[in-house]
Structures are given as structure tokens and as C-alpha cells.
């Protein structure tokens, strides 16, 4: 269990982490999500006692990190896969970590085997690919067989097979009753692995909720309709009390799972439909909406910002704009 209370880190005027309070619980994977520069890594460094908090407190199983006498058996962390001496072999890198915590040397061979680096154990780390570096970092985190695991962007630079492997590893670790805390800037990645979600933006807590609840509240379902008889369909739907919003171009959008009702209405009134498709807004979009105001480094496409939503192929932005009066996504459930 990792408990953060009022954790704050300031670098001069700049607030990197602002009053974070949440708990990472055992037995599940907790995703730590935020755009680049949101303060995820700073938070993780404070958990490990590397950076001193300006204010607030973080405890691991009730204790401060520096009070842990054999920290690697409590908490294993992958912060930066490149944080190895390039001239040292994978085996020696892990051995010196093991020795610092009185972990037997045979454990080094075990973790090398677990991450699949046995064949290159004697090779210098500077010859490693990014994916192999990540594996070495994960081997270091697993070295003490700890109850708590913390991974900072573990899938960065991994090939699909490696990503699959990490996901399964994290799930297995959590199923064994361990605490797994993993950061990412990719919502799609988290949706596949995390059970619980902590979202931060510009160092501030934006959400602390279960994944299932986040999905339920944020993946808006709607029906996309295209018809050559647009005015007639609008009349019919209005009569039936179904609210319609303009989609992109010719299309119309109707909130909810009303595809069948719309189809039946159209058939009854002999209206030709070119498209009738149920849609779901992606979680990635919900995440971007949630953090839109707090993204530190915006990329601009050369046009003045039309709205909070970047163009995504489908024109759901307009529908939301109409339906929700340009409020950012997530502002509703953030209260709840």
C-alpha cells in the first residue's frame, strides 16, 4: 500500500506536484495517468525518497521510504530504463543491487530468467535495445520479490510482444496480492491493464476512480445517422421526442443506444437511411478532455483553437459542444 497525503513539490515558482492525496491499494493494478509533464515521475521519485516533498507525506506500508532497511523487498521500482552504467553487464548491475539489500545472488539469475535476459546476462548494458533495457529495469524491480511494484511508463519502447508480456506480468503480480502502481500517458494502455485509475494534470489530482466507473461515465454512446431526407427525419425524431445533434457534414448524432428505435421510425415513415451506426466515444478522448486544460506542452496545428477537442476524424466535438455547452468532458463526474 502506498499512501500519499497532501504531497507537494515545488521547484522555485513552479509547482510540479500540487497537494496530491490518494492511496494505492494492494491486489489491483492502479494506473497513474497524466499528460507529459503532469508530475507523474516527480511523484514516483518522492515515493522512493529520491526527491524531498516540499509539503505533505508519502508512506509505504505505513513507513517512510528511508525507514525501510531492506527497501527492495518492500517496493521494487522501474523509473528510468536507461539508468544503468553502460559498461556494466546486466548480471553485475543486478548483483550490486542485490548485494545492497542482502538478497542472495541466485535471485539475480531467477529474475534474469523471468524477464528473458539470461542469454545476454554477461553483455554490457550499453548494447541493449530500449526493450531489453526496460526488461533489465523490470528485473531490478522484481529482484527483492517485493509486495509493492512501481513502474514508470513500462511499455515505452517495447514491441507488441513485449507490451503483452508486461501487461500479463502486472496482472499476475496484482493477482498475487501485490500492489501494482503503473504510470502511463496512454489511456488506451491503461484501459487494458488498470483496475483503478488516478489521473493528474499539472500536478493536481483530476480523478481517483475505478476503471469501470471511468469507462461508464466517460465513454458516451450515440448513434450516427445519415439520410438524404434530413428535414423529414428531423421532424419525425422531434415528434418522437428524440433529441438530435448535428454530426459532421450530412450526419446527425443521437445520444444513447437508440439505433433500433430510429431504424423503426424511419421505416414507418419511409425515410431512406444511408447510415445508422451505434458509436462509442473513445476513452482516449475522454482522457484528453479531462486533461485538456492542464496539458503543459500544447502542439498547435496552425489554426486558432476551435474548441477543447482536437480533430479526431469524427466530429463528436460539435455534438458535445451543442449538448454540453462547451464544458470540458469530465466536469460532471469530477464533482461526483
Amino acid at each position: 500500500m502506498i499512501e500519499l497525503s497532501g504531497l507537494t513539490k515545488r521547484y522555485g515558482e513552479k509547482v510540479a506536484v500540487n497537494d496530491l492525496t490518494f492511496t494505492v491499494r494492494p491486489g489491483i493494478i492502479t494506473g497513474f495517468l497524466g499528460p507529459n509533464g503532469a508530475g507523474k515521475s516527480t511523484t514516483m521519485r518522492m515515493v522512493l525518497g529520491l526527491d524531498r516533498p516540499t509539503a505533505g507525506d508519502v508512506r509505504i506500508d505505513g513507513r517512510h521510504y528511508h525507514e525501510l532497511k531492506d527497501p527492495l523487498t518492500y517496493i521494487g521500482a522501474l523509473l528510468d530504463a536507461k539508468a544503468v552504467h553502460g559498461g556494466r553487464s546486466a548480471y553485475h548491475h543486478l548483483l550490486c543491487l542485490a548485494q545492497a539489500n542482502g538478497i542472495p545472488a541466485r535471485r539475480v539469475h531467477e529474475v534474469l530468467d523471468t524477464v528473458g535476459l539470461t542469454a545476454v546476462a554477461k553483455k554490457k548494458a550499453k548494447g541493449f535495445s530500449l526493450g531489453m533495457g526496460q526488461r533489465l529495469g523490470i528485473a531490478g524491480a522484481l529482484l527483492g520479490d517485493p509486495r509493492i511494484l512501481m513502474f514508470d511508463e513500462p511499455v515505452n519502447g517495447l514491441d507488441p510482444e513485449g507490451i503483452h508480456w508486461i501487461r500479463n506480468l502486472m496482472k499476475t503480480l496484482a493477482a498475487q496480492g501485490r500492489t501494482v502502481f503503473v504510470s502511463s500517458h496512454l489511456m488506451s494502455e491503461m484501459a487494458l491493464t488498470a483496475d483503478h485509475l488516478v489521473v493528474i494534470g499539472q500536478g493536481r489530482l483530476l480523478a481517483d476512480t475505478s476503471m469501470a466507473r471511468f469507462i461508464a461515465e466517460n465513454s458516451r454512446s450515440y448513434v450516427r445517422v445519415r439520410t438524404p431526407q434530413r428535414e423529414r427525419l428531423l421532424d419525425v425524431l422531434a415528434t418522437a421526442g428524440i433529441a438530435v445533434a448535428p454530426g459532421g457534414g450530412e450526419a446527425l448524432e443521437v445520444d444513447g443506444d437508440k439505433a433500433e428505435a430510429i431504424g423503426e421510425l424511419a421505416a414507418r415513415h419511409q425515410i431512406t437511411l444511408h447510415e445508422l451506426s451505434p458509436q462509442r466515444a473513445s476513452l482516449e478522448e475522454a482522457f484528453m478532455q479531462l486533461t485538456a486544460e492542464s496539458v503543459e506542452y500544447h502542439a498547435h496545428d496552425g489554426q486558432p483553437a476551435a474548441g477543447p477537442l482536437p480533430p479526431q476524424g469524427q466530429a463528436q466535438g460539435q455534438a458535445q459542444g451543442q449538448g454540453q455547452g462547451q464544458r470540458p468532458w469530465g466536469s460532471d463526474w469530477r464533482k461526483g
Partner: protein, 287 residues
């Protein structure tokens, strides 16, 4: 990419595959050990012996000390000069002066290179007691550099005494000073570099500072021609590291200034102070 791709583990070993009791909290089969300084020392020993830079710096050091020592001995032995009244051990000075730069480099690298790679974060995660990490680094480095210097200096001393039968027989204290004495001095100089590396956190910067400290006072003093700077010049000459080193061979640029075992006391004091600063900064700063 020429590196072999690691085999992908299709199934994780049993430990990971077996789903444990949910929520019961995980208990590891790995023995829990209350760690102490010796664990950190073992870790630092593994670190220092598992990188090529140790081999290189110490190899070049031995080459310089022994090579130059034998060379100078050979040259002196080849001349017809009357050697009576001179101490053959003092010919070891030149090799050690040059070699000390290797020890200083290794000292800096022991601490500063970890900041360059980011490894220091992993190190401090494995051992949250920062003072213990610095102490272990210092201890391991000091013992290694002292041992290597002692062996090289003794080797050169024995060879030179054998090569120069015409010279005086050195006394017991001469022997002690030119072997154990200089070795302690060089190792402490390396330890000072290690502390500076920990403060500066940048290998090239710290090495530059140390080389400057070694050479600058002497070079600057050489060009102090003004009469009003006489005292400063004298101080710089007498307390420059090369002059302090030569005191171990009962040589000195002047009659005042450090003598006997004095330089050892000076370097011990300076190293202790700088090490203390490194220690305090390490506690205060973010890693």
C-alpha cells in the same frame, strides 16, 4: 542492431504464474535481511570491479608509476654521476605525480558517473541511507587505490634501490614514507576527488577541478615575479600538491612549509572537510 534479441519467455516461471491469495498481501520467500554498511560495501565492490574504467585508470596508473620509475632509475644509473649522499627512493616521485591524475579520475568517476547515467537513483532506491552509500563508496575506493599505489610504489622503490648501488642506503623511515606515506597521500587525494565528484555531480567538471587543483597553484606561482606577491608565491609553491608529494621523499622547493609527515595531515584535514560537505549536500539535495 547487432545485439541478440533475448528469448521471449512464453510462460513466466512458477513463482509468477501461480495466482496467490487475492488481497491477502504478498509474502516473499526471500529472506529479509537487516542491511548494514557491509552490504553497501559489497555492492560498491561489485560496482568498481565490474566496469572497464577501473581497469583502465588503474592500469594506466601502474604503467606510469612503474614505467617512469624504472625509466628514471635507468637513466640515472647510466650516468657516471656520483650518487653518494642522494636518496634513490626520491626517483619514484615523477611517476607518482603523473599517476595521481589516474587515481583522481577514478575517484571522480566512482561518484559522478552515477549521476551522468542516472544510476544514482537506482542506487539510492536500493539503499535509502545516502550517507551509507557515500561511506561505502569512499571505503571501497580508498582501499583499492591505497593497495594499488602501495604495490606500485614499493615495486619501484625496490627496483631503484637495486639499480643504484652507488647511492646511500635509505633509512627505515625513508622506506616507510616513500611507500606507505605516499600511498596514503595519493589514496586520500583520490578520496578528495570522490567527494568533489559527489558535490559537482559531473564527471568532466569534477576531473577538471581536481587536475586544476593539482597543477594550477604551482604553475601560477612560477609566474609570480612581483616582489609584493612573494609571500603568496611561497605559500603556493610550498603547499602545492606536487611539492607536498615531494616532501615524502625529503625533498622540497623550500626549507619552510610542510615537512616530514605534514602533507598527510593536510590532505587528511582537507579531505575530511570536503567529505563532510559532500555528505551534508547529499542529505539535502534531491537525487
Amino acid at each position: 542492431m547487432s545485439t541478440p534479441q533475448p528469448p521471449m519467455p512464453q510462460a513466466a516461471p512458477d513463482r509468477w504464474a501461480a495466482p496467490g491469495p487475492a488481497y491477502a498481501g504478498y509474502t516473499s520467500p526471500i529472506p529479509v535481511v537487516r542491511t548494514n554498511l557491509m552490504h553497501a560495501v559489497a555492492s560498491e565492490w561489485t560496482k568498481i570491479r565490474s566496469v572497464r574504467s577501473t581497469l583502465w585508470t588503474l592500469g594506466v596508473f601502474v604503467l606510469l608509476v612503474v614505467g617512469i620509475g624504472l625509466l628514471v632509475g635507468g637513466v640515472v644509473a647510466g650516468t657516471e654521476a656520483d650518487l653518494s649522499g642522494s636518496n634513490p627512493l626520491e626517483l619514484g616521485f615523477f611517476g607518482l605525480l603523473l599517476g595521481s591524475m589516474c587515481i583522481m579520475t577514478l575517484g571522480v568517476l566512482t561518484t559522478a558517473s552515477e549521476y551522468g547515467t542516472g544510476l544514482i537513483r537506482t542506487t539510492m532506491t536500493a539503499c535509502p541511507s545516502r550517507g551509507r552509500v557515500l561511506a561505502a563508496k569512499g571505503l571501497v575506493f580508498f582501499l583499492v587505490s591505497f593497495a594499488v599505489t602501495l604495490v606500485s610504489a614499493t615495486l619501484v622503490a625496490v627496483a631503484q634501490v637495486a639499480m643504484l648501488p652507488g647511492a646511500d642506503e635509505p633509512s627505515g623511515e625513508d622506506w616507510l614514507r616513500s611507500t606507505v606515506g605516499v600511498s596514503l597521500y595519493i589514496a586520500l587525494l583520490g578520496l578528495l576527488s570522490l567527494a568533489v565528484g559527489s558535490i559537482i555531480r559531473h564527471s568532466a567538471g569534477a576531473i577538471t577541478i581536481m587536475i586544476g587543483l593539482l597543477l594550477a597553484p604551482l604553475v601560477i606561482a612560477l609566474f609570480m615575479f612581483s616582489e609584493s606577491l612573494k609571500d603568496v608565491q611561497e605559500f603556493l609553491l610550498e603547499y602545492s600538491i606536487p611539492n607536498q608529494l615531494s616532501v615524502f621523499y625529503a625533498n622540497s622547493l623550500s626549507d619552510s612549509g610542510p615537512s616530514g609527515w605534514g602533507p598527510l595531515g593536510i590532505i587528511l584535514g582537507v579531505t575530511a572537510v570536503v567529505f563532510g560537505i559532500a555528505f551534508v549536500l547529499l542529505q539535502r539535495r534531491d537525487v
